[in-house]
Structures are given as structure tokens and as C-alpha cells.
């Protein structure tokens, strides 16, 4: 068990390190932030001074090493724009993003899983087809279209909800719905197929054959098995939530990490962009790690040794 956990932990760390390296190399190779930040008409000596100041004149490998060294000391660098520590800038935005993504995750799981399971239990009925269709519709609508259409209906035409901004709970409704819809569809579809697969297993027939009521067969025998694959997809959801936040926060002018990323990217604010990428990668890797551990907890076949 300890061996397993430490192996997974090691793999998670390697992945984060890889993302860090990858983003560092790609971003440094892509061009000179000095020119973007300072504008085109700045004399060469100012540019040189700027580069010296930010350490951009050193060879790439040295920049990388000092970057790594700094990170291990908790220093994520300074924003090139306002010279504030990048980590502070990012952390400042985290609550806003959490306010959007946490309810969205709850919504996704809370609606998606029951809908999928319900559809599986009524396989091939009109309800089932309806759920499948809605689910497919849900994840094929791009979130920016969804967002704009919602704005068009509720903010522009009906005028009942604000079209953007941050502060009151009303502000959160439209972005919350927008960010959830796709995930609900994916989870519903996945839960449905996981449940259908489980319902076809011999042990479900065994449970029925020993006289367990159908209701209890579903609850006591089918769900614990279907939960195993559903947990996986729920873990992946966490990652896509953050990606979704970028678009949604842009549409609704929501002051979260996604919005900060877009702004920093267009400003070539290296430290902030790297810090955000690192944070997101860490969240995704952690989510995957939790899924792996949950998996072992849910599936006794993985937990204990197989005798045969």
C-alpha cells in the first residue's frame, strides 16, 4: 500500500515537473517579452537593461535552473507588469474561480450521475433516448455559444439577470450554468454506459436469483460497481473545469484565474503565466492522484492480492 502510494506520488511529481519544464521552455523560446512589454520604440539600451534586470540575458539552462531553485524556495517570480509577486496575484484570483468551479462540479455530478443511471435503468425507453440526446447536446454546444445565448435570453431579452460582473449571487448564475452544462452531458452519458455494463454482469443476475428486490439490486449490487469507472471520469472533470473557466470567465468578465491568464498571456507576463500553468497542472495531477487512491479503495480486487 505504501509502495503504491509513494509510486503514484512520485509519478505525480514527475508530471508536475514535466509541465513546469515544458511551459518554461516553450514560453522562453517564443519570443522576447521585453519588446512586447516595452513597446516598439524603446531604445536598445533600455531593452538591454530590462533584460539584464529580469535575467533574460542568461543562457536558457541557467534561467531554468534559477527558476527551479526559486520555486523550491516558494518564489514564483515577480509579475513583469506590476512587479507584484506572481503567486500573490494568482492566489488573489483563486477564490473567484473556486466560487464558480466548485458549485459547477457539484452540479455536474449531482445532475449528471443520477440522470445517467436513471437512463440506464430505463434503457431504450423514451426517457433514455431523451437523456442521451440532451447529454450529447450538452457537450456539443461550445461553452462560449452557451454563455452568449444565455446572456442574450436572460440579460438582453428578459433582463432578469446581469450579463456579467462579480459580487452578488445573481452574477454567478449564468456563468455557473454555462460551465456546468457540458460536464453534465459527459457525466450522464458515461454513467449511463457504466451502469448498463454493470447491469449486464452475471453477479447482478445472481443477486436477482437469490430474491433481492430490484431496487436493492440496483442500490446494493450495481451502484458500488458502477461507481468505480464513474470516479475516473469525475477526476478528469476537475481538469476540464479549469479549462472551461478560461472561456466562461472571459465572457462574463469574472475576475478569476482564467481571466488573469488571458490578460497575462496577451501581456507576455511570463512569471504569472507559468505560475498559473503550474497551479492548474498541480490541481489536475492531484485530482488524478485522488482518483487512483479512490479506485483502490472502491475496488477490492486492486486493494488486496489476487489469490488466483
Amino acid at each position: 500500500m505504501i509502495r503504491f502510494v509513494s509510486l503514484r506520488l512520485l509519478r505525480a511529481l514527475v508530471t508536475v515537473l514535466a509541465v513546469m519544464t515544458f511551459s518554461f521552455v516553450v514560453l522562453r523560446m517564443s519570443g522576447d517579452p521585453a519588446e512586447v512589454l516595452l513597446g516598439p520604440d524603446v531604445p536598445q539600451n533600455v531593452i538591454d537593461a530590462f533584460r539584464r534586470q529580469w535575467g533574460l540575458d542568461a543562457p536558457l539552462w541557467r534561467q531554468y535552473l534559477s527558476y527551479l531553485g526559486a520555486i523550491f524556495q516558494g518564489d514564483f517570480g515577480l509579475s513583469m507588469r506590476d512587479r507584484a509577486p506572481a503567486l500573490d496575484l494568482v492566489l488573489e484570483r483563486v477564490p473567484a474561480t473556486l466560487m464558480l468551479t466548485v458549485p459547477a462540479l457539484i452540479l455536474k455530478l449531482g445532475i449528471g450521475i443520477p440522470a445517467g443511471i436513471f437512463a440506464a435503468l430505463h434503457r431504450d425507453s423514451a426517457i433514455d433516448r431523451g437523456v442521451i440526446f440532451l447529454a450529447i447536446l450538452g457537450f456539443t454546444i461550445p461553452s462560449f455559444v452557451m454563455g452568449l445565448v444565455l446572456v442574450l435570453i436572460f440579460a438582453v431579452t428578459l433582463g432578469v439577470l446581469p450579463s456579467g460582473g462579480f459580487g452578488t449571487w445573481q452574477n454567478a448564475i449564468l456563468p455557473g450554468i454555462t460551465i456546468s452544462i457540458g460536464g453534465i452531458g459527459i457525466i450522464a452519458r458515461f454513467s449511463r454506459s457504466a451502469m448498463i455494463e454493470v447491469l449486464g454482469q452475471p453477479y447482478i443476475r445472481t443477486a436477482s436469483a437469490k430474491g433481492v428486490k430490484w431496487h436493492d439490486v440496483v442500490r446494493g449490487h450495481a451502484l458500488p460497481n458502477a461507481a468505480i469507472p464513474i470516479v475516473t471520469i469525475a477526476g478528469f472533470m476537475v481538469g476540464s473545469l479549469i479549462a472551461g473557466a478560461v472561456v466562461v470567465e472571459t465572457i462574463f468578465s469574472w475576475p478569476g484565474i482564467g481571466r488573469l491568464l488571458i490578460v497575462s498571456v496577451s501581456n507576455r507576463d511570463l512569471a504569472v503565466v507559468q505560475c498559473i500553468l503550474l497551479l492548474i497542472a498541480a490541481v489536475m495531477v492531484t485530482a488524478n492522484l485522488i482518483v487512483d487512491l479512490l479506485y483502490g479503495w472502491l475496488d477490492p480486487r486492486l486493494r488486496t492480492g489476487t489469490a488466483h
Binding site: 515544458f22 447536446l137 462560449f144 438582453v156 465572457i251 491568464l261
Partner: protein
């Protein structure tokens, strides 16, 4: 051995079963996709106007205006013409990227299955890394810092979803080798080339095609998302996402600029998903 599993009774020659009627939704989806492909191929002939041709006297004309059936935008450019061109651009990017991703992933998957050991470990690790990568955000950064070009966009999108093909190709090739036809063909003395290209690839093709129907709409969504954020296809070229992005400013006054491409994106991805679901049920019930 027994009839405990009723479908087994009838499973013997499923493939020869008289073609089941295509469900209406799937038929409509196929029709729409055919229309889109035609649009993309014949874009130059179909476009009533050039996409950059401005007509400042006819700005923000609503749909159903004679000569501009889907209206015009803020510069008086014909929305229908731009839409047709956008379909072409978006489809070309999605096709190109899907092809790259499928070829890359399948090759890696086969390599992993063929050599096992370290090669396999490496491919699996790479796939894990890819799955843990915030791909949209990464590509956002890359495009922002490198500047967007069609070629870069296609290549970048081509890195999306390859791990899915790699996993499938590896899994199926190993399964085929474990006790199936691949082991049998190898035991006949076939070279790896004959084995992989002549036997395994044709056998896994249907599964790969089904997973393409999963990746394809995702790539369309991602490309349009990036273009919407202004980081994908750059003006004067146009794509579906980029049209929505620019149309957004006229959401209240001229919603058709944004709605027309939105509807096209939705119906296209919906059609592919419906067709993909149907294909999966028919060809390969094993993938999710």
C-alpha cells in the same frame, strides 16, 4: 458453452444482419455532415461574395435581406459568404488535426505493443503526461507567445487526443497478440510489417474511426474556443469560432452575426456525435 447469455444465440453473424434502418436523427446528422463537407470543398463556388468585400452602405443588415440571406456584419460583409469560408477553415483544421493525432497516436501505440518493455513504459508515461496536461490552457499560451498561424494551429491541435488512439491501438494490439489472430499470424511466420499493416491495422480501424468521432468534435470546439478568445484563426481569415468572437460585440444589435456560426458549430458537433454513437453501436460496442 451454454445458452445462459441469450444474445450469444444470435450473435453469430451480426455483420450479415440486414442493415437496420438508420435512425432519423442519425440520417439527419449524416445529411448535415455531407452538406458541410460539400460546403468546405466547393466554398469558392458557393460564396456569393468575397469574405473581405465590404459594403459600408449595407452594414448590419438583418437576415433575409435580398442578396444577403444571413445578413451582413458591422463592415457590411456578407455573413453567408463568411460562414461558408469559416466552415472550410474549421473543417480543414479539424480534419488535419484529427488525422495527425490519429496517425501519431496509433503509431506510438503499435510501437508500444511491438517492443513492450522500455518503449512501452515511455509511451504510457507520455500518454499519462498528455492526459494530465491542461491542453487548452497550454495551447492558449503557446499560440499567444508564438503568434498564431494556420500551420501551427493544425499541428498544435494534432497533439490533442493522441493518447486516446495510443491507448486503444496498444490495448487492441496486445490483446490480439495475447491469444488472438495476431499471435496466430505471427506463429505462421509473418514479419512484423505484415502483421501490423496487413492484419492488426485493418482490425482496429473501426475502433479508431469511432474514437475519431469523439476527437473530431472536441477539436472543433477547441479551435473555435481559441479563435473565440482571439488566439486561434486570425483575421482577415475567418473561422467559426472567430466569427462568434467578433460577433459578440454586436450581441444586442445584430445577434445573427454570432448566432449563424454558433448554430453551425452546434449542429456539426451534434451530428458527428450522433453518427459516432450510432457507428459505435454498430461497429464496436466495446469502446466507451
Amino acid at each position: 458453452m451454454t445458452a445462459t447469455n441469450p444474445p450469444d444465440l444470435l450473435a453469430r453473424d451480426d455483420r450479415r444482419r440486414p442493415r437496420a434502418a438508420i435512425p432519423t436523427a442519425v440520417a439527419l446528422g449524416l445529411g448535415w455532415l455531407a452538406l458541410m463537407v460539400l460546403c468546405a470543398i466547393l466554398a469558392d463556388l458557393l460564396r456569393p461574395y468575397d469574405i473581405t468585400q465590404m459594403d459600408l452602405s449595407a452594414r448590419l443588415m438583418p437576415p433575409l435581406t435580398p442578396g444577403h440571406w444571413l445578413g451582413t456584419d458591422e463592415l457590411g460583409r456578407d455573413v453567408l459568404s463568411r460562414l461558408i469560408q469559416s466552415v472550410r477553415v474549421s473543417l480543414v483544421i479539424a480534419f488535419g488535426a484529427t488525422a495527425i493525432s490519429a496517425a501519431f497516436g496509433t503509431t506510438l501505440g503499435f510501437l508500444a505493443a511491438r517492443f513492450r518493455g522500455l518503449v512501452e513504459q515511455f509511451v504510457v508515461m507520455l500518454a499519462d503526461f498528455q492526459a494530465a496536461l491542461p491542453f487548452l490552457i497550454m495551447s492558449l499560451a503557446v499560440l499567444a507567445f508564438f503568434g498564431s498561424s494556420m500551420l501551427l494551429l493544425v499541428c498544435l491541435m494534432g497533439f490533442y487526443g493522441w493518447e486516446r488512439y495510443a491507448r486503444i491501438a496498444r490495448g487492441l494490439a496486445i490483446a490480439a497478440g495475447a491469444q488472438g489472430y495476431a499471435a496466430a499470424v505471427e506463429q505462421l511466420g509473418a514479419t512484423p510489417r505484415r502483421l501490423y499493416l496487413g492484419h492488426i491495422l485493418p482490425n482496429v480501424a473501426s475502433t479508431l474511426i469511432v474514437s475519431m468521432t469523439l476527437t473530431f468534435p472536441e477539436i472543433i470546439l477547441m479551435e473555435s474556443g481559441l479563435s473565440f478568445l482571439g488566439l486561434g484563426v486570425q483575421p482577415p481569415e475567418t473561422s467559426l469560432g472567430n466569427m462568434v468572437g467578433f460577433g459578440r460585440d454586436y450581441l444586442t444589435t445584430a445577434p445573427w452575426i454570432m448566432l449563424a456560426p454558433s448554430v453551425v458549430i452546434m449542429i456539426t458537433t451534434l451530428s458527428i456525435s450522433l453518427v459516432g454513437d450510432w457507428l459505435r453501436d454498430r461497429l464496436d460496442p466495446t469502446v466507451r
